[in-house]
Each structure stands twice: as structure tokens, then as C-alpha cells.
Subunit: 541 residues, 2 copies
């Protein structure tokens, strides 16, 4: 089976989307997830253009990726510079990636209006830039910006740009439909003409979705011989987005017989899609093909009964192949086998008829229907599992709390104060603290009360705090400030990081749940470590 | 220019979507809007299957449609009946539409497993059903269910089904990709084989989006000679949806040279899309091609300056052709020329050396460095602009507020109460309200205090509430629950939607800012509308 290179640009083109903003840490988390999925190339950013992207390339060097190559992206050198003194090319080299993508103009209009130079000079710039980078990097891709529009405007010039990039030593010529306006018919015709003119060229495709044909255009390009597909997770990208890798990869693998990901990794697709949406803090698009919540959801009576007899009657693929699942609406089951699998990860060998499993299953179903998201908040899930199995101590009880927010025009900043009443064993502690905002005040008061009993809590700190507001019901209707709120809190101590979750109509209450879980998890984890150490010592005796 | 028939099935297939529920009244409203747009055929429902659909066909007869033909949809007769005594065919005739679409099985597996009959009997049922309806209706379409899957499984049988429908007198044979799994390459190959086998047939295409290729598949079918395209507004439909007419129509008209809608009607597309989303009560998909809010939004600095010089550089069509518009997003870099451009949109002709511009620029830089995101919150920006220019009234002053959150173990839900003290002119109002959570309580108290003075505030409601927690500084380090919080609030009244922003260390305070902006914007907008009306009336005198 022929291998197609998958090139992800979520961290670069994806961040051009109107509502996507990623910090350096977000980018690192996504890159590591894409590495686990087995994406071949991860375009990390444009180091010559902004400091966030430069920091990413430094930061990512602290992680050993198993599969992916990180790629830095930049433009051909400035018309007024040479490759040797161009700061943009210099930034590419300083990013120390093994692969570089360099983009150049191929549309005559842009050369004239944007670069304000001649066609000859543009060809020279392409050749010089590619040639300069060639000996300095293992893999080098040339991104032909606006190629399809350029071809339609001035075929000879567009082809000449590709030719010069090849002569300079580019490994792959990536044909970009930058404006996303190319129809499938035009795209096929143009690719065939490129192939006739440059039969030795290895081609890539980079499509945008302005005509809602980016996925089809990418598949057609591969069918005609392209060896690399560029796109983003969930199709995030400027305007209408980039070609959606979550749709392209499964069609290439399941329908067209190509290999994209390492063996057995396709089933990670749905969880990867959700992870990226969570980190980008964008609501999942339920109708999204392959990985969306509705992608294999059956509503109509005829369909439901047919699908139960034979899923193929109304499902184009087996949902599990991409890590998704069939949903018969109104009976959404949190899978029993999922629980067994997870429990095994935490060291419990359970039987599927174990009453604990059935208990946990019913608890989980109830909690997930309320909006708890355990796929992300694994620490909360681990606590739930251990509590259900009776293996987690009750470290403390929060009997009551109160948060007071006030602001008058005399003071610029509002005043936040929290009081808590906690019980540890038979001892009660009633205390108060102020903070920057109500959640911070509650956090401070809780720690103040508990550190007396559990000094190790001083080792932990909060790393991230995420809030997601979502519809109360499944009908997609929001109810404004009375919507349900999910809070995810990421905490860390010197040797671990963990995420906990809370859900409520009330953001303070949701935060309280996630904070309590976070403190409990720290104490639970410390106990587990002590236990492991004790067992090891006993064995050595 | 060749005419392509546009066939809308939003009212039938569209309602199979997980979150779409339409009453008879909703369906009538949508049908009339589609008529205004100039859709050729409006499939109203399956009268044989449910009473809502039957009522629709009665109700719609009370309206004279200018352009559209209403179509009723149903299956071939039951295996145990004849056309004459089949209640489903009878319901089709009783719907009294001038056009009927009848669907039949063309996949051998379905004939065996679902109909539990022989292939010969199925061919007979198709011929008899079509033949029975032929003299009773003006136009008759045969919907070949699962045609592409059927063709791949048993080509001879699938083609025989089409042949019998033609012999029975069907005007158009609609090839359905019911499961949405057909790749563009397969689709083209199969259509060409159908044409070779049935050269006289007039073909239609009905695609589903499970592979994210429904739009491309529809365009390719037309390119090969299909004369009718079936789809839905916004692509609503079961699982991943149907082929999206909002993307197909503009590509056919603007790129492929076909006629679909009556002259000059294409510019109604964006408003039609929004109308249907409103009636279906589904949040607009901002990244939707052609008609989405982000479809012509430009963020990156390079793109913005290029687009200003020549929009074609990053826009595949002129947005106004489909009734949409270009949006220049105010991204992190608040440049002087960006502000001038935005100000012009709001009706201000400013000079770049105007002290107001310099003042606004410094304010914006400061606010954006704090985390205010005006690219999204355009209403807040418009208020800021007008305030800086001294053109927005101070509608009210919030002198002070207090929010109290409390929870004891006795009660399951926490209690939220807000008090506010507002001043309008010389009058002060001091009131209190409870709510589901602190922000909801504050919202309720504010409205309670202000509606006395401004009754139109009762027209507005909150549509969406988004929270983003982010690092205080650019170093990428979070500081947990003391992180900065950005709240975006989307509000709406009967004729507009607007987004406002608030930023603070404190989520309540950030929400307060966004809520205040939202209320102010409503009042400001109402004043502007009154002013415009007054000027128009004065001009008429």
C-alpha cells in the first residue's frame, strides 16, 4: 500500500482562524498529541514573523517526539535582501528543525502588486532561497502560494516558479489553493498539466475550504499522484478553514487503499479531534464527518431498525475504525468495555459482570449526560473509579462555603472574599481568604484550611484553568448566562500534572468541584506513592 | 447559460438532523423564504409517514408561491400491495402537489434484507409505482436510494432499477449517495457508466456529507451532465448532513457558468441561510463557506494589507454577490490604517493625523495588551469608537454591585444573589435579584434596574456566553485561578446580533463589563435607528 505523507498545519494556518488563539504551551500539547496520532509533519509556525512561534521551536526541543517531524515555515527572501542576510531565512535555520517549508509567490499579480518586483526577479528569489536552504536542512518543501489562481492567470510563469524551486532542490512542490476557490474540475485539469510539464516533480496539495471542496480536492490530488497532503485538525484555518485532515486521512486509508498513519492509529482520530477542540476552546462541530458526535447517530425509525440489523445499511464505514461510535439517539451508552479498559490502566483487573463495573457505568452515564468530560479530566475519573471501588480515603469534607464579590466606584478593582468550613476527621477548620477573583479566593481559603492537616498541599500549584460554556440540552439552544459551565483545572507538583473537572449551572460551584478533586488527587497520589515505596522496601528485606 | 434545477429537501431530509425539529409553521415560513430566493423545488415532507408533514401540504396551499414548486416525497408501494390500494401512494396524491418524488431500492442487499423480496419483484414495484403516478402528476422524479452502493454491489441490478423507472415515465432519475461514502473518483466513474448504459436519461444528484465531499460530488455530477441538484440549506441533514445548497448554488453560478436562481437573487443567499438557522434554532456555523460570518474575514497583517489593495488576492469571489461582506479583523496589531478602515465602516471619515485616531490607537493598544479581543467583539469596539468620538450617550452608571454565593451541605445547589446600584440621569435605582449562578444573578439584577428606564431592553436576550482563561503575560506561564479571564457575550434582539467583551482577573467583573457593553449597545443601536429614520422622514418632506 502506497504511503501518503500527512502534513499538519494546525499550529500555523489553523491559528489564522478567527476564533483560534494558541499559547506556546497549547501548541506543545497539540504537537505531542499529533505525534501520538502519528502525523508525519507538524508545521509549528512562522518563526520569522512572531515571538510566540519562535518560543514554540525552542520549547518543543525539550520533548522527544516518536514519529513526527517538526517543520518551520517561512517565505522566500525579501526582494531587497540576499539569502545570506535575510532575517526570515535566518529565523528558519535558527528554529533547528529537520524540515523546512518555504513559500513563494507563483501568481503574477501578487509578484507585481505585493512584492512590487519583476517576474524574473521572483524566479531568482525562489531559486536562491531554496538553494540556500537546501544544504542546511534534511527535508525541504516548496509551498507554491496561490498556485491554481496563478496558473489560470499566467500558466507559463506559474510553471516556471515550480521549475525553479525544483532546480533549487525542493523535495516536494506543494500546490496551494490559497483562496480556496478552485473547483474539483479545474484542480484536476491543472494538476494534470503540471505533471505533463514537470514529470519528475513530487507534488503536494494544500487546499482551503472556501468552496466547501477542500477535502475532495485533496483526495483528487492524491488520486492523480500527489504524495503529500497538508491540512489541519478539524479543518481550522483562516476564513472557511483548511482541508480537514480528520476527513482526508480516513478516506485515504479506508476507501482509497493508501497508508497515512502508523498501523492501528486511525482509531485515535476522534479523540485527537476532540483534544484539539478542547485546547483551542472551540465547541465541537457535531455534524463533522467521521469524528463528529452526530456522524453515526441515527434518529429516523426506519434507519434505526435497519442499522441494528446491519450497520452498513446507513453507515459508510465502521465508526470504531476512526475511534467514533454509533449512537442510537436517546440511548447513549457509556461503554462497559471502555471502563474495563480504563480500569486496567489504573491497575484494576475487573470482570464485566462485576457489580462495581455496573455501578460505575450508571454513575458515568449520568455524569456524562450532565456534561462531565472524563476523556480530558483523567484525574477526576481515576478518583471516581477508586471511590466507587472504595479505595480512596475521604481526606476532607467541605461543609460550607461562601464567596462575596463587591465593587463600588470608589475602588477600581472588585473585592473577592471566600469563607470555608472544612472538616478533617473530627476536627473542624473555619477560615477566610481574599483573592484575585472569586475562584482564586475560594482556592486560597481551601488551601489555608487544609495545609494545616496536609502540608504536602503546599507543593502543588494550578497550571491552567479552562472554562467552557455549553448548551444545557442537546437541542443546541443556548440560554445565555444561565447555561451550564464546565471547568477544567490543571494542577502540578514537582513530578506530575493532572486535570480535574467540575460541572454546574454556576461557575463558582463548578470550580469548587474541580478544585476539590484537584486537592484530593494530590493527596491520593501521595498516598499511592508512599504505598508503592513501602511495598518495594518490604520486598527488599 | 444552461439551467440547473435546484431541489431543496431542508423540510424533509434536513429534519433528520440530530438537532433540527421543525413545526408545520416553521416549515411554512422556510418554504416561503425559499420561494423568495427562487428555489425550483421544495420537498415538503413524506405525507405517508407522519401527520406534521400531511398538515404542511394542506397549509402551504393557502399561500401563492411565486417561483417554487412544492414536492411531496414517498416510497414505492409496499411489497404486499398494488399501487391502487397502497396508502403511501394515496397520501402522495392527496398532498395535491404538482411534482412528486418517489424513492425505490436499488441496492440488492436492501431488497433482500429490508424489503425481504426478490430482485424481480422490486423491479416490478418500481415500474408499477412510477407508472401509476405518471398520469396523476405534472412532474415525477425517481429517487434511486443507495444508488452508488447498489451499483458497486450489483451493477446490473442497480442499472435495471433505473431502467424500469425510466420506462414507467420518471422525468428525472436522481442518483442518491444515501450513506455519503462515495469518493469523488467513484462517483464520476459510476455516473459515466450510467450515462453509457442509459444515454437518454436525465439525471439528478442527491449527496450526503459523511465523507465531507457532498458539495464536490454534486458539482462533479453537474459537470458530467446532471440537470438537478438536491440538497439542503446550510447542509442540515441526518448524520453529517446533506449536500449544502448554500455552497453549491454560488459555485454553479459564479464559477461554472450555470443558472440556478432567478436573476439577481444570488445575493439573497446569506440572509436565507441565516433565516433558516434562526427558525431551526441552530447556532450559525461561522466558518461556513460563502455565507458564514468568517467566510471573508481577514486577520493576519500580510493578508489585511493585500486585501485592501486588491480583495481578489485573498477572496475567491466578491462577497456581496452572495449577500455577504468582507470583515477586517482587528487582530493583535492595532494599526492606524485598520482603525481608519473600521471607522469608515461605521460612517466616520477620519484623517490619520486626527488626534482622536491617535487617542483611540493608544487606548486600543493598551486594551488589547490586557486581553480585550475586538476582532470578535465588534459591538464593544463600535461603542469604544463612538465614546472616543464623544458620540455615545452615557445611558447609565453602575455605581456598585455585590454578588453573594453561598453553599452549605444542607442544600444541593448553591445560592446566588446580586445587588446593583445604578444611576440614570439624576435617578438612582437600588435592587436585587437571584439567578442560576453569579453572572446570571448580576444580569437579572441589572436588567431589573434598567428596564424601568429603557423598556426596549426587554427585547434583547443573551445568545451565547464564552469564557477564556489566559496567561497574564506573554511568557506563557499561567497562574492558575488568578489568571486573567476574557468573557465574550453574544446578544440578540429581533433584528440583530452583537458580541461584547470584558476582561479582568475576576470572572464576575469581566462578565459585568461585557453585560454592561451589551446593554449599552442595544440602547445605542436603537438610538441610531431612530436617528436614521428621522433623517429619512425629513428628506421626504
Amino acid at each position: 500500500m502506497s504511503k501518503i505523507q500527512i502534513y499538519d498545519t494546525t499550529l500555523r494556518d489553523g491559528t489564522q482562524a478567527e476564533d483560534v488563539h494558541l499559547s506556546t504551551e497549547d501548541k506543545v500539547r497539540i504537537a505531542r498529541k499529533l505525534d501520538t496520532l502519528g502525523i508525519d509533519y507538524i508545521e509549528g509556525g512562522w518563526p520569522g514573523s512572531n515571538p510566540t512561534d519562535q518560543r514554540f521551536f525552542q520549547e518543543i526541543q525539550n520533548y522527544a517526539l516518536n514519529h513526527s517531524r517538526v517543520v518551520s515555515f517561512g517565505s522566500t527572501h525579501s526582494t531587497k535582501k540576499t539569502p545570506e542576510n535575510d532575517p526570515n531565512l535566518d529565523a528558519l535555520i535558527k528554529s533547528r528543525t529537520k524540515a523546512i517549508t518555504i513559500f513563494g509567490k507563483t501568481w503574477d499579480v501578487h509578484v507585481k502588486d505585493a512584492l512590487r518586483t519583476t517576474q524574473e526577479r521572483n524566479l531568482e528569489i525562489i531559486y536562491n532561497s531554496v538553494g540556500f536552504l537546501r544544504p542546511r536542512v534534511e527535508e525541504l518543501f516548496f509551498d507554491a502560494e496561490h498556485f491554481f489562481d496563478g496558473f489560470k492567470a499566467n500558466k507559463e510563469f506559474a510553471l516556471a516558479c515550480l521549475g525553479r524551486a525544483m532546480e533549487g532542490g525542493a523535495d516536494i512542490l506543494v500546490l496551494c489553493d490559497t483562496n480556496g476557490g478552485t473547483t474539483p474540475m479545474e484542480l484536476c485539469r491543472i494538476i494534470q498539466e503540471v505533471q505533463a510539464s514537470l514529470p519528475e516533480a513530487r507534488l503536494g496539495i494544500h487546499a482551503h475550504n472556501d468552496s466547501e471542496t477542500a477535502v475532495a480536492n485533496s483526495l483528487l490530488a492524491v488520486d492523480l499522484g500527489a504524495v503529500q497532503v497538508q491540512g489541519t485538525i478539524n479543518g481550522y484555518g483562516e476564513r472557511c478553514g483548511n482541508a480537514n485532515l480528520c476527513s482526508i486521512i480516513p478516506s485515504l486509508e479506508l476507501k482509497m487503499g493508501y497508508t497515512c498513519l502508523p498501523e492501528n492509529n486511525l482509531s485515535l482520530l476522534t479523540s485527537t479531534s476532540h483534544f484539539v477542540a478542547e485546547v483551542a476552546n472551540i465547541g465541537a462541530f457535531h455534524r463533522q464527518p467521521f469524528v463528529g458526535k452526530s456522524a453515526f447517530a441515527h434518529k429516523g425509525g426506519v434507519h434505526v431498525s435497519a442499522v441494528r440489523k446491519n450497520p452498513r445499511t446507513y453507515e459508510h464505514i465502521v465508526p470504531e475504525e476512526v475511534g467514533n461510535k454509533q449512537r442510537i439517539l436517546l440511548s447513549d451508552l457509556a461503554g462497559q468495555s471502555n471502563i474495563l479498559f480504563k480500569a486496567r490502566q489504573y491497575g484494576f483487573q475487573l470482570d464485566k459482570d462485576d457489580p462495581f463495573v455496573l455501578d460505575l457505568l450508571s454513575k458515568l452515564k449520568d455524569l456524562e449526560s450532565q456534561g462531565y468530560e472524563y476523556a480530558v479530566a483523567e484525574a477526576s475519573f481515576e478518583l471516581l473509579l477508586n471511590r466507587t471501588l472504595g479505595r480512596a480515603r475521604k481526606y476532607f469534607t467541605l461543609d460550607s462555603y461562601r464567596v462575596l464579590e463587591s465593587k463600588s466606584d470608589k475602588k477600581d478593582q472588585p473585592f473577592s472574599e471566600a469563607t470555608v468550613m472544612v472538616r478533617v476527621g473530627g476536627l473542624q477548620e473555619h477560615t477566610a481568604a481574599t483573592g484575585k477573583g472569586p475562584v482564586n479566593a475560594l482556592d486560597s481559603a481551601l488551601r489555608k484550611a487544609l495545609e494545616k492537616f496536609y502540608p504536602t498541599l503546599a507543593e502543588m500549584h494550578l497550571v491552567d484553568f479552562k472554562v467552557r460554556v455549553f448548551a444545557i440540552n442537546d437541542s443546541g439552544t443556548y440560554s445565555g448566562t444561565a447555561s451550564r459551565v464546565r471547568v477544567l483545572i490543571e494542577s502540578a507538583d514537582h513530578n506530575a500534572q493532572w486535570v480535574t473537572v467540575g460541572v454546574s449551572f454556576n461557575i463558582i460551584e463548578a470550580s469548587r468541584q474541580a478544585l476539590e478533586d484537584s486537592l484530593n488527587y494530590k493527596l491520593f497520589k501521595d498516598d499511592q506513592a508512599k504505598l508503592t515505596k513501602a511495598i518495594k522496601e518490604a520486598e527488599q528485606v
